[in-house]
């Protein structure tokens, strides 16, 4: 197997006295799709926020595509440009149109010419089927449309890795499907993805591996089929019995 694109070794993190991550070890190879699940407060969001250093880890190493995350700001910005992220609350920029949301970072971070950035943005918006909304503002769109715009915005940076932090948790049930469809398409296109979600249907369809976290530890890590067919730990069984 090739060198993993994300290497997480013995990562520990504390919020004050409270330890959120305990000795996390995880390797993700290119094009792998990983679903992270677990009860709330188990540290799943914190873990993926550590991967692009929206949170700092205090112990251990995280290496993303050959770059170690440390205090070095240049490295962090480089990693962030390669790692796209989609948030639970969409976090679109409300003062910019959808198209400007998508072109802002390519133009100013990647120094892409404006015209090229716009073409790329339109292509990505086409992919998530909201090209017709390009000139509207985020506040004028439904939650599902906003989240798909957010996916397109992240993709405009042409990232190697995509992180999803509970992308469907803030959506109405009717809109969850359109967002999941966009994510499934993305997965089929061969993107490396780490997804924190409670959508087990999505996990079964797309994931190569499922990770179950509880109390800051990785309790179980298994191939998708194996994970759902015969989970090993009791904690996982309990969780699955409640969620399925």
């Amino acid at each position: 197997m090739s060198e993993p694109i994300i290497k997480i070794e013995n990562v520990n993190k504390w919020f004050g006295d409270f330890q959120v991550l305990k000795d996390i070890n995880l390797d993700v190879s290119a094009k792998q799709k990983i679903v992270v699940c677990g009860p709330s407060g188990s540290g799943k969001s914190t873990l993926i926020r550590c991967i692009n250093r929206l949170e700092e880890h205090q112990k251990g190493t995280i290496i993303v595509d050959g770059t170690e995350l440390s205090e070095n700001t240049k490295n962090i910005e480089q990693v962030r440009a390669e790692v796209g992220m989609v948030f639970q609350q969409f976090n679109l920029f409300p003062h910019l149109s959808i198209l400007d949301n998508c072109t802002l970072a390519p133009i100013w971070v990647k120094k892409m010419p404006k015209k090229e950035a716009q073409e790329l943005a339109m292509k990505q918006l086409e992919q998530v089927q909201i090209a017709d909304q390009a000139n509207k503002f985020p506040g004028q769109l439904s939650g599902g449309q906003q989240q798909r715009s957010a996916i397109a915005r992240a993709l405009c940076m042409q990232p190697k890795i995509m992180l999803f932090d509970e992308p469907t948790s803030a959506l109405d049930p009717e809109m969850i499907k359109e967002v999941l469809d966009a994510m499934v398409n993305l997965a089929k296109g061969g993107m490396t993805m780490i997804v924190v979600t409670h959508e087990m249907g999505f996990a079964k369809e797309v994931a190569d591996e499922v990770i179950f976290m509880d109390e800051g530890m990785i309790v179980e890590k298994a191939e998708t089929k194996e994970f759902f067919a015969n989970p090993k730990s009791d904690r996982t069984k309990l969780f699955l019995s409640q969620i399925l």
Partner: protein
């Protein structure tokens, strides 16, 4: 209970009550108005106490009659909902209306009917009303201070140029729009300074030198306000960002600066700038008094601006920072493109507040011997030839300040509406 309802309207006799109520209400207003304007008491045949309270009683009964839950008549419903909700509000409404009516004739006659404006000397003012002659004679002084009369065109021209340059941004071609901020923050102040320096100060291009001590009046108010406004805003922005910086050094310097300048009164700052400051400078180094004052006010108001802007920065959800960072934006890109445009929009009302306060603080420069509008008034009212007209002068100044400030707040409402975004 039925007997109580006898005095309330119902569906059948609603219009009867409405007309009767309006009639009584009009009578009460009319009574007070006639009393105030024509000095005739039409109810003088009634015993004293009753004669005084009659309009109040009539108006109260009238308002009581027209008060209904919902009538369907728009203006009536507005009245009932806002100024006639219950008996207490009805009485308050009446008293306020009466007070306004009562106050109108004396103030009108003082300001207009009995006032004088003709003539050039104090003796022309013979009426019992205001002496606008005073304002007329001193008008040029109030506008231009001690600036030589035949050179006033230089001030006018400078202001026209500065205003024209201010509008320049609106006509910029679209592909140059991105330099707009640069223009307004850096280039425009410099050009404006040069225009004002060379035109008003003179000393070059064949223009006679006029020292800043001679500047004054409203034009000085404008000059001081203008420069302080355009300089204190960027300063406030830098301080607000500094106060939230993750670098302790920058953070503590910003906090120290803000707390220091917010803690001292402006008047001492101005005094220091003119008296203490030159002592610390080398002998041959000279800085104009006006420049020192402008710097002092800018430093002072910058601290206030900083706190207002910080409020806007804190109002933004953390997700906006996260999203910008996750796209690979560094500190400056994140702030310039994502954070500040949203935060500054939020603080328009607060900034407008600070700016209005700044404009109204400018009269304080009197303590260092610079006489802007209010300062000129203080000088003019002590002129032996024109003693006793302080009132007219201050009313004149109040009106001018009000116009300036109202225009500014109107402009800020416009900005708010223009940059409104849905979240």
């Amino acid at each position: 209970m039925n007997s109580l309802n006898f005095l309330k309207s119902n569906k059948q006799n609603f219009y009867y009550f409405l007309y009767l109520g309006l009639f009584l209400f009009s009578i009460s207003i009319l009574d007070v108005a006639i009393n105030a304007f024509l000095k005739i008491n039409i109810t003088s045949f009634l015993p004293g106490i009753l004669s005084i309270f009659l309009p109040l009683i009539l108006g109260f009964v009238g308002l009581n009659f027209i008060r209904t839950e919902y009538s369907g008549i728009k203006s009536l419903d507005i009245i009932n909902k806002n100024i006639n909700t219950n008996n207490f509000n009805a009485i308050l409404t009446l008293l306020i209306i009466f007070a306004i009516i009562k106050a109108t004739p004396p103030s009108l006659s003082w300001m207009i009917f009995d006032a004088n404006i003709s003539g050039d000397t104090k003796e022309a003012c013979t009426g019992t009303g205001a002496c606008w002659t005073y304002v007329k004679v001193w008008f040029r002084r109030f506008m231009y201070g001690m600036y030589p009369n035949d050179l006033h065109w230089r001030i006018n021209l400078a202001f026209i140029l500065v205003i024209a340059l201010g509008f320049f941004g609106f006509f910029l071609r679209d592909n140059l729009k991105k330099y707009l901020a640069l223009y307004y923050v850096i280039i425009y102040p410099i050009i404006a300074f040069l225009v004002i320096y060379y035109l008003i100060s003179g000393g070059a291009f064949g223009l006679v030198w006029v020292e800043t001590g001679a500047w004054g009046g409203l034009s000085l108010t404008f000059i001081v306000s203008f420069f302080c406004l355009i300089f204190c805003f960027p300063l406030g922005m830098v301080l607000a960002l500094g106060r939230r910086s993750s670098l302790p050094m920058i953070r503590y310097i910003s906090i120290g600066y803000i707390e220091f300048w917010r803690g001292v009164p402006l008047i001492t700052v101005l005094f220091m700038s003119s008296v203490m400051f030159p002592m610390f400078l080398p002998e041959d180094f000279f800085m104009d008094k006006l420049v020192r004052v402008i710097i002092a006010i800018t430093l002072f108001e910058g601290a206030y601006c900083a706190e207002v802007i910080r409020g806007g920065l804190q109002a933004l959800p953390r997700g906006q920072y996260d999203a910008a960072k996750s796209l690979g934006m560094g500190y400056w890109k994140m702030h310039i493109f994502v954070i500040l445009p949203q935060a500054l929009k939020l603080v328009i009302p607060g900034i407008c507040n600070t700016f209005l306060a700044l404009v109204k603080d400018t009269p304080l420069i009197f303590v260092v011997g610079l006489a802007e509008l209010a300062g000129m008034l203080a000088l003019a009212k002590t002129n032996p030839k024109w003693l006793g007209f302080a009132m007219e002068g201050y009313i004149f100044a109040a009106i001018i300040f009000w116009i300036i400030c109202y225009a500014m707040s109107k402009y800020s409402y416009n900005l708010e509406a223009k940059y409104k975004t849905e979240r």
